[in-house]
Assembly symmetry: D2
Homo-oligomer: 320 residues x 4
């Protein structure tokens, strides 16, 4: 079947919103894709929230994402953000996250926050960095409840490391912890791949469907979902890398469009537009050996700012 093949090969992004846009473009769909429902909201000048709902199997097939909610928060100019912008962006995260949590568990149900990734690989360090700033209450409720307000929710947090440095699948570590401490909900933070360098560390995707770590960049691991962990999993993903071949393919598309606009249009170029440029670029680049995954030069600061946004967003969403 045509599209299931395309989806396996093509999206090169973990963002449901980007997949939706790619699918609509590729199939010349002017309105909504069958099986999806999308809603947009603009907050102030710098924040845009897009809520994509995958309603059924048809929607799943189209964009290769499980049935559920995928909320994208795009934050303009977070890269040069001051304290105010970080605060506003984190409030947007809090609002969306709080709504999803409220749908899944009760007010004082135990939540485990999980920071995926490798602290020593800058574009992969977001998860562990967020964990450092999460307000942990579970142990205080046990040992010194008097220091907490009445009704505080138990929150705990771990950075399980990555397969390459632990030798253990993340799902194995988390399953063990879940079985021992019995949280009611997991919030997982992960770094994602995107199509767009612009979105690097400027976008947050919140999904109530869990995640498959590393899905966006080709190294599939066992998924972290209600199916594998037995409790609901909310995934907070932030794009931090882009494939070099994606940059090449996207710029090639822009280039062909420009050429055609300028009247150089001809049969051959039209035909090119029909083809899978990403695949062609991949093949062309392969012998040159630069199928690299890249990240902006400023990634250290981007990760720093974004981990403040996400940590605050979680802290206010998990407590009253």
């Amino acid at each position: 079947m045509k599209w299931s093949v395309k989806f396996m090969m093509n999206f090169r992004t973990d963002l449901a919103l980007e997949r939706r846009d790619l699918y609509r473009k590729a199939n010349n769909i002017a309105n909504e894709i069958n099986g999806l429902e999308t809603q947009e909201e603009t907050i102030g000048e710098n924040v845009k929230v897009t809520r994509v709902k995958v309603l059924n199997e048809e929607g799943e097939q189209a964009i290769g994402k499980k049935k559920g909610s995928y909320i994208t928060i795009d934050i303009k100019d977070l890269k040069i953000a001051g304290e105010d912008e970080i605060q506003k962006a984190s409030e947007a995260v809090t609002k969306e996250l709080k709504a999803l949590i409220g749908n899944l568990v009760a007010d004082q149900d135990d939540i485990l926050v999980v920071g995926l990734g490798n602290l020593y690989v800058t574009p992969d360090a977001l998860g562990p960095k967020v964990i450092q700033d999460i307000d942990i209450t579970r142990h205080l409720l046990t040992y010194m409840p008097e220091v907490l307000e009445q009704g505080t929710r138990p929150v705990s947090a771990v950075s399980p490391g990555v397969l390459g440095t632990t030798g253990i699948e993340t799902v194995e570590i988390l399953k063990g912890i879940v079985d021992n401490i019995h949280p009611k909900l997991i919030i997982v933070i992960d770094a994602l791949a995107s199509r767009s360098i612009e979105r690097i560390s400027s976008t947050v995707q919140i999904a109530d469907t869990g995640i498959v770590p590393g899905a966006g960049v080709g190294n599939t691991r066992k998924e972290l979902t209600i199916d594998t962990l037995g409790i609901p999993v909310i995934a907070i993903g932030v794009p931090t890398v882009v494939e070099a071949a994606t940059i090449a393919a996207d710029s090639l598309e822009l280039f062909i469009n420009k050429v055609q606009e300028e009247g150089h249009s001809n049969e051959f170029l039209n035909q090119l537009k029909e083809e899978d440029k990403y695949q062609m670029i991949k093949e062309i680049l392969a012998p040159e050996d630069y199928n690299f995954i890249v990240t902006p030069k400023e990634i250290d600061e981007l990760i720093e700012n974004m981990s403040s946004v996400v940590a605050r967003g979680i802290n206010f969403a998990t407590q009253k």
Copy 2:
């Protein structure tokens, strides 16, 4: 009972060797303590190995350590160590560790290495730093066995974090992982308290009895032993902190000794020697509010050198 009280209040060290020395001194025991067995070995000019065996309950009562082997490796001048000294010290660790492992599990049995501590608190960062340098094979044996030699032992490694930043007892996290990945042996690395600033990051204690994290500095946690985890636990501990009150008490003892040697001896000073100077110092210091735990100024480099020693020691002990 006099001594069980003394042991609860007095040792201020996690090292079995220091406890033995303190107990012998306090009780004027010239030879070995009943219930202990001690053996010393000197390797080259800079390494001294002392093996203290706690044989029975009498030994346990005396030094407050479980029945089992406690091997102390003192490395002279590790602080200013070059590559050669680090290599020699790590070989001493390998030799002792290999013997203990051989007593507990078979050659290809799965081992989980656990780095306790907090990466962001320098004197507590040894465990997580060692984990970074452990040669992990468990995932390779699953996914790419062809890159490994025949007979490679599966080794995995985690840094579970500390209660204060996770909200979860270490034993809860480890129990979960053990139940899911079924290793046959755990090696735990932890930072310890010692009586002696000289020993900071110059001494390694290897014990086949597991550990109680934080035992040395007053914040007891649930123990990590075969009783709580269901498999044998080897503990590798390195002193990284000393209590300020210990420095004060020890120097006071030295002072009184000096005074008496010089003939100023008198009834009052003799009486002082009988008393629990540590407790008195603690009481005197309390209103001044400096019951601090301290570490040498050079702790960053000490931790760096020692984590190389321990990681290499483990890597060579776990593989042929």
Copy 3:
């Protein structure tokens, strides 16, 4: 002469305030020392400001500090400080610093901020860490003045490193920079030694007399003063280390006091009080080889909080 000898050997602290207290105690001076002038102020519940002025040579002889102003800001519980306490403490720094700057240079005169110390030695990392957070304007005034408000003062900042890692005296590096960029004032940030573990990273000393790096801990370097650099030097010092022998000596003093209060007083103990206990302790400890310089276990976090206090204090003091 008795006291000049004592001062060379005894103070073991870089804080003028502590030296004054030690001198008064040693000499049983109930009121002010000749040649000094002291003023105290309490701000809110947690901040105490003490301004010691060394008026003349007699004052210089007494406490071994150059003629000038030494302002000590003690901040209670900075160790567990939240955002509010850090803000209040930084405001106290700003106020005192602004007054000193106003005495020395005009409103728009060029200032160079210098962070002494070694980023890789935690208790010595304060200077380099503060530099990261200084608001730099000098290059913007040259290249993009339009982004700055009218009347912005040119501020630049360097971390010159330490002799052990550069091979160059700090004064040589700074002299070169001063000769090339011609600032009108230097503000130097440095880590100090104190008598008191309590003061570690809880106290800021601001002096208009410059500094001799490492003076407090025995490794004297060439001084950084108007005499060596040709322009006024304000020194901001924060205690981050204590000598182990100081802990021992001070606790011994407390001990002897306690013993005497309890009526055990006798000729010998009285005589001890007259003597130089620090020196005796040093001698006793020497063969044991633990003349260590120590720092609290929590030094990473202490340095983090204090570098926020100092950086903000400087930023608001250097700009309107």
Copy 4:
């Protein structure tokens, strides 16, 4: 004039070797460019050394590099290098560097090593990281000459920071230090831009002409050369970033070549090849706002490995 314009706009690389290749291709030059002289050497399986000499003004005009030697050491698979590869690569650096040093100064002449860049921006951290591992002798020769071998050369090292964090031009800082400590030669380490992601942290360029920091990525600063500093400057540069637009333009070129090979050739595509694709891509990309500078995801480890290579290379080249 055509070529001077092209060189200003086009090379997008700091490597003389890449500029030479681009120039030859653009001008269909089969042999050597007038004014250049090139020599290649292969060492073992993994190291290739190319020595480009710019002989005169004609060569300067062609590749926009000053008269002098530009030695490129390409190291295959440094990314996954073990201890052996790092050692071999550093030996290649030592050999080339030693020859250049020998041409410029005498055996015991004082050398100052300068690590340019920003420690907190991973792809820009190479310089400061190398400095940490340089064997410094200048202060020992002054204070403890007895610990050094006879004939040790005085070596010192600084990391002056970057304009954005100091507010001071690097040349102003270095001029000051040179005037005060009078070294006879400066070795500067800097991160470069390259055309090729493959070369990121796999290539070292050594030049005896000094450098203009940031030249490759558009933010020109005052040059560091014998003209500005008064003593010879050897520059060691390592590519760590690539412009996203370069990836796009290079892949577009590959794409057009492929299309033509496949017989789709036509007038329009031929014409495209003549044009400045980089400029066109830049213009197309501009409205999309992704004129980013990127670096591989693995940059942390690449920098770590390469800084070992360079530091060892320098240490063995500066001492006998």
